[in-house]
Symmetry: C2
Subunit: 658 residues, 2 copies
């Protein structure tokens, strides 16, 4: 019996703590299994009753007749129940009970012990704090989620994994009301054992699943999820994520130097992108997008995305077009003057469908959107008929309905056409679709041996480390008191060399633009008061400054960042992140996305800087991800001076792991 | 008979071009008037029929029995119909027919003639290209909008004015499905005569209207709408706008669609704010916000807004909290440790309601939001009962329902509680509510006499104009070839003085940091090749540069702008706009909102600049709005150098009106 079978298609389930009071949450799994037609055996476990809701009850899982593949634990004594499961040969235990990582440090310790014991016993755990597992085509409703009070929710190809149990209900109830069909829904709870990544892996292999939705609060198993997302991609199954924690609260958690520029949500954003996971911004877009991506692959456009909008209602179409424009998506009308294709006077349904077909064939647009007005409310069949008649091609076809029109939405869903309730969710889904990338293949075998001679890197040793990685660094020499003799050609800059003084400029420890030896003697005198050793550097000038960062993120692993330099860029949080390492070509793509680096891209006739050289520095620093043992926690080159020819690292820091 | 009576409560309506084919659009007004119980006389005008849909028809309005207060014109021969209306003493003609400003320059000219003739005749026009007028409590459905096929849409206090006729239907159908009740709905079409402003004025005086919604593509009568918004505010009626044209394409589309000049969206944003009009970003927030603001006034907080979130579902609440956070709204839980108030185990409905009441009383939060989970789907009455039991106070109380739960939404709406379908619309409504301002009282009588001596201002004369307004400007002198003699104290800067050379820096016409007379002679030599006259200025240094601008916007009138200086700030579009003039205090508030000017607000321990002095420059430039005849089209001070003490205008331009 495979894990997937035990989880989704168990021959028998034990309900540990099943209540005989039909109104209680703990009675729900038994009621729901019966209501939705589970074909296996249901075994209530309740030591105080001989019978629960009409079924014979057992004192423990051990006493229940085997084989039992899956147990659902709803009692506080989870540890004892787990032991019983192991003795009874149960393969998977889903744990609804809470009081684990959801309840402070003590709870987290309890959870660690539970997970360790489960491993010893060979029982896989879902949860704790999980609301269970639903398989609609398989008629398994092993859950306490009240959404299963619903009669006959529609089966289909959408599966979902959620870190919030209640949001499974939210998506299932809203999706079902639109006629969207679901396959498997899994509430992973605290992920003590089975995590999002492993479940996505199972869904990648599941014939009933065609699209995978994720509702996430964080990512606990980034490597496994990345691997599973790649498998899903290979199987032609898009993975779409909605993740909480975009606001300041999550951002504040990042407390590192580069953290100020690149918070944890930005890290996960980079991660999703590189894993080929689409990310939606709006909650309803999470399920509304499913038919838009089902059976499709990342669009890989080399131009700005173009959507052809066909409408019978001007104002309604404008509300989506406006929103698409905010995401940089163009609206086009191949072969027409107007920006929108108005079919108010189109005549027959066949003519409407023919227009859609010709647009789906046209090389001049990348997607087709039909906007339907009030007819969708009063004549649903008639209103959506031409859209349903249009051919299904690799190019996405979607609809936005302006009135309240649930029946039309459901007809479109049943016909496999993505149908949106709001202009915003529609535009969000298109944005996510066009941003969708093929999973990046990531070199992960270490090939660099780093000499981490310092526990605390000063500026000189940081620059040496960057040079060792292949970054072009400024010519510099260490000079010592009293004379500070050096042989760097003038003009130079001089900085006090100390890992102790954090803010050298504010401390008066930096002197720039030293033109000759006299100037040098005069200007370095005050530095002697701060310390014995200074760093003398060739004075570099360029067109603009950039910042390049590296961070070994605790959630998603090594990241590389590039942004415009200076305090303004910091204020505007104008940085771009990718999983590290990146190639020079990938680094150039990153630089393209930094608004402030327009300064070196020839903005407003300004001279062009050596973007390739900056990209080389980004790629070189990103190779910290390949260092054996990954000894660096963080590194930052700030600034890289971008010149007409070349780009030079002038200052930086390295923070080794503890 | 007042305009409002003729428009909304006519004793008789003439339907010019009423069709006898019930399926045609032009048959709709007659069908809808009957269906929704209009009590007045309905007079079909159709020269080819003696009877239309069972009612006696007349050859023209002139032949119909009077008095006729309102005519609805649906024929191409609008001009003739208008003459007939005048002869028959019709007070208002609503024109559905199109082919006016919606159809190119010829159409616009036709419209101008029609409007002029209507003025001569004393007939008020709604439209052309209007879908008509609906008054639900008054049982008037004088419209071609198919949404009136609906049976008994609920009456209530929400009125709406729309530049898109179809969007009236969108909002009415979606609102009605949620149990929201509407009063008057007006499709203003091309606004040849009656515009949004005048209609809002009527609604401000309308006892049945409690909230006014606007669906806008542009603003054609800014002064009148501003005045009407003030009257609505005085009458305690919030005005909420959703406006298209936020994206560049959307703006272009709004223009081509209505034949109107669409303004820059940022200008309209400033305009709405200063008029006390709330602006929502999401379409559904436009009507969902109504109960949140009804009977309330702008919150006038002096701290970041705080919402107390009460929930029975963690994941659902988190999705709103996250979104609120993105808008800078804090989530608080007075007297509790957790950020969210979890009432999953709250016990009775009375206890839940008591919690809500205590939060509504608490000085520690500014609004209360209840998030309801799956119970809203299966037990609507039970789920929303405690929310409906909570007291109604000046503090807003709202609900977000996580599942598909139309019945619960309708119960809340009927109870006067704002109920949201999506976390995003909920957060958008709270954002708009907290950003809501009391209409600004705007000094508008001219009190400045400007000497506009130049048709083309050079830099010197621009600086003189700024100085005349009260802006502190850099010490400067005009100097002439060959010696360029001057008495400005060193260090100085020198610039070629010419209104012809647009890009002085690129042309080599600017020299900075001239330290003494020798330096001056050497560095000004190349300038002599560019022209005879230079401007010598004291070399100013400060903490940061700002840009201050003025524009007499064709739509909304004089605007003043402040932003961070430099090319990066330009790249990030980091500017703040207000209607001009502004006081120094208002200018300080504007400066607070410019991200990049954190540089002079003590960001990261940087020295603080003289923000007050910058504000004085902003206020001074904004007084261009008070110049008699408003002769200036545009003016820009770029840069203002902000120093530790003082702020000095160093360069700028002035563009007089043609």
């Amino acid at each position: 019996m495979s894990l997937a079978q035990a989880l989704f298609a168990p021959r028998a389930v034990a309900l540990v703590g099943a209540s005989g009071d039909a109104k209680k949450n703990t009675a729900r799994p038994q009621r729901f299994l019966a209501k939705h037609g589970y074909a296996g055996r249901v075994l209530p476990i309740n030591p105080t009753r001989a019978e629960v809701l009409g079924a014979k009850a057992y004192r423990s899982v051990v006493e229940a007749p085997g084989p039992v593949d899956h147990a659902f634990i709803m009692i506080p004594e989870v540890e004892q129940a787990l032991e019983d499961c192991a003795r009874a040969g149960v393969r998977v235990a889903s744990v609804f009970s809470d009081g684990f990582a959801d309840r402070g440090a003590d709870g987290a310790a309890r959870q660690a012990r539970l997970a360790a014991r489960a491993r010893e016993l060979g029982v896989r755990l879902l949860g704790p704090n999980s609301m269970g597992v639903i398989d609609l085509p398989g008629r398994l409703a092993l859950t306490v989620n009240a959404v299963l009070e619903m009669d006959a929710p529609p089966s289909g190809g959408i599966s979902m994994v959620s870190q919030s149990g209640t949001m499974l209900g939210t998506v299932l109830s809203r999706g079902a009301a639109r006629g969207l069909g679901f396959a498997k829904l899994v509430s992973v709870g605290n992920e003590a054992d089975l995590g999002v990544g492993e479940i996505v892996g199972l869904l990648a292999d599941d014939p009933a699943t065609r699209v995978i939705l994720l509702f996430l609060e964080t990512v606990r198993d980034a490597a496994r999820l990345a691997e599973a997302a790649r498998r899903a991609h290979a199987a032609g199954k898009p993975v779409v994520a909605y993740k909480l924690g975009r606001s300041a609260l999550g951002e504040r958690l990042a407390r590192s130097h580069t953290g100020a520029l690149a918070g944890s949500d930005a890290a996960l954003d980079a991660y999703f992108r590189d894993c080929g996971i689409l990310r939606v911004d709006l909650l309803e877009a999470l399920f509304e997008i499913a038919p838009l991506v089902e059976g499709r692959t990342p669009p890989r456009l080399v131009h700005a995305p173009r959507v052809a909008v066909v409408t019978t209602t001007g104002g309604g179409a404008a509300s989506v077009v406006d929103r698409l424009g905010l995401s940089g998506i163009e609206t086009v009308a191949p072969g027409r003057d107007a920006p929108i294709i108005d079919l108010t006077m189109a005549g027959t349904s066949a003519q409407y469908a023919a227009t859609l077909d010709s647009l789906l064939d046209s090389p001049e647009c990348d997607a087709v959107l039909a906007v339907v007005g009030s007819s969708a409310m009063f004549h649903p069949q008639h209103a959506v008929e031409p859209i349903l008649r249009a051919r299904r091609t690799a190019k996405p076809l979607a609809a936005f309905l302006t009135p309240h029109a649930d029946a039309s939405l459901a007809l479109l869903a049943k016909g496999g056409v993505a149908a949106f309730r709001t202009p915003e969710a529609c535009a969000d889904a298109f944005r996510a679709y066009f941003a969708w990338q093929v999973p990046r293949s990531r070199v992960s075998s270490p090939d660099i041996e780093l000499k981490m001679r310092d526990a605390k890197f000063d500026e000189k040793s940081a620059l040496e480390l960057f040079a060792a990685l292949g970054v072009a660094v400024v010519e510099s020499q260490v000079a010592r008191a009293p004379a500070f003799a050096h042989s760097v050609p003038y003009p130079v800059a001089a900085k006090i060399l100390s890992a102790e003084i954090a803010h050298k400029t504010e401390a008066g420890g930096v002197v720039l633009d030293i033109s000759d030896e006299n100037d040098f003697r005069a200007k370095t005198k005050p530095l002697a008061k701060l310390g014995d050793t200074i760093l003398v550097q060739r004075m570099e000038r360029g067109l603009a400054e950039a910042i390049v960062g590296y961070r070994d993120d605790p959630l998603v692993g090594p990241l590389v960042m590039v942004g415009a330099g200076g305090v303004l860029a910091e204020l505007y949080r104008d940085t771009v992140l990718r999983l590290a390492p990146v190639s020079v070509d990938e680094a150039e793509e990153m630089i393209e996305e930094v608004k402030g680096l327009a300064l070196v891209r020839g903005y407003r006739g300004l001279p062009r800087g050596d973007v390739r050289a900056l990209a080389e520095a980004v790629a070189a620093l990103s190779r910290l991800a390949l260092a054996r043992g990954r000894p660096v926690a963080e590194a930052e080159i700030n600034p890289v001076i971008v010149k007409r020819q070349g780009a030079v690292a002038v200052d930086g820091l390295v923070v080794p792991k503890e």
